[in-house]
């Protein structure tokens, strides 16, 4: 049990698995394996994302990485990053399931290189194929409600809309759209995946009722990745606790907080 303050029954449940932390952390771009390991520990995350890539025979770098991840006592969420077709994504998912021994797959079908925006048509098709094959699919999608409905119809039990383009660090580009998605799917676990640049962005997502955030670059490329990982842990906790406490509604006009009754000189 991690040391994050929370209501005892406030675990996040995805595909029947309860997670203490609402922060999913990517494992890429750290300055060293040691910094990655320290950052994962500092984040108190329960889930890290991983991938499959080509490697020369005899290199064994991939196996060293996998040994490190296995030593961290976290769940892995393999991705299909870089896949641009349904076939590529499905084959990569099948390969990942065997290597990482998990039915979980972070499904990415990339449709466009400048924004790394998901190809939502391919995404829905791949999600259906994989769900029917026993995968538990975490689709990287947009905040489009129609696509979201089709992903749920394809068998997804969690949705992961982007906050902003992958690696951009711009935060929540479409707060209105993300709020609409949260309101439209009150019972579906929703994870903001991609675009988070600062802990305040993560806190904002959690305050809006999002169930979790998934991020990589914001921690890995910080000046001090380990300290930033801890900052994200605190931000996610703060955001979740704020959501549970029901934030006040904003007003257009000022409203005095000090009592008006009894004010002097009136």
């Amino acid at each position: 049990m991690k040391d994050i303050a929370r209501a005892p029954d406030d675990a996040l449940e995805v595909y029947g698995t309860k997670l203490a932390s609402r922060l999913f952390v990517g494992t890429s771009m750290y300055d060293s394996p040691a910094i990655l390991a320290d950052a994962v520990r500092a984040s108190a995350c329960d889930v890290v994302t991983v991938s499959l890539r080509r490697e020369a025979g005899g290199s064994r770098a991939g196996n060293s990485f996998w040994d490190l991840i296995k030593s961290m006592n976290v769940r892995v969420l393999p991705n299909t990053a870089g896949c641009k077709t349904v076939k590529e994504a499905v084959t990569t998912a099948q390969m990942a399931r065997e290597v990482f021994d998990t039915p979980w797959i972070k499904l990415e079908v990339i449709g466009e290189d400048d924004t790394l925006q998901p190809d939502v048509f391919g995404l829905v098709e791949a999600a259906r194929i994989l769900s029917e094959d026993g995968f538990e699919v975490f689709p990287y999608t947009t905040e489009d409600l129609v696509v979201a409905e089709k992903l749920l119809g394809a068998g997804c039990k969690v949705l992961m809309p982007w906050g902003a383009p992958i690696g951009s660090g711009r935060g929540l580009n479409n707060v209105f759209g993300l709020k609409a998605m949260r309101a439209h799917f009150p019972d579906v676990p929703l994870v903001v995946d991609a675009g988070i640049g600062a802990p305040s962005h993560a806190a904002q997502a959690l305050e809006m009722g999002y169930d979790a955030v998934l991020l990589n670059t914001a921690i890995a490329k910080a000046g001090d990745a380990v300290a930033m990982a801890h900052a994200f842990k605190l931000a996610v906790t703060a955001g979740r606790e704020a959501y549970l406490a029901t934030p006040m509604e904003p007003r257009d006009m000022a409203a005095p907080s000090t009592p008006v009754f009894g004010v002097a000189f009136r």
């Binding site: 991983v50 025979g57 290199s59 991939g62 196996n63 065997e98």
Partner: protein, 65 residues
Amino acid sequence: MNIRVNGIDCDVKASDLEGLLAELDYADQTVATALNRNFVRKKDRAEAKLNDGDEVEILTPRQGG
């Protein structure tokens, strides 16, 4: 036999996927394989025969976001 492994043209002796992994020094590593873009399970590699012009992917765990 000339095949393409991880995007590189190779002249190999192996006649099946399991033999190819040994020939290319992957035998003791955790890898996933695909032949002509179709996933081949670990237990099926010995039966996965190779032919001239085949495309093989041999993937290992890697950092991911």
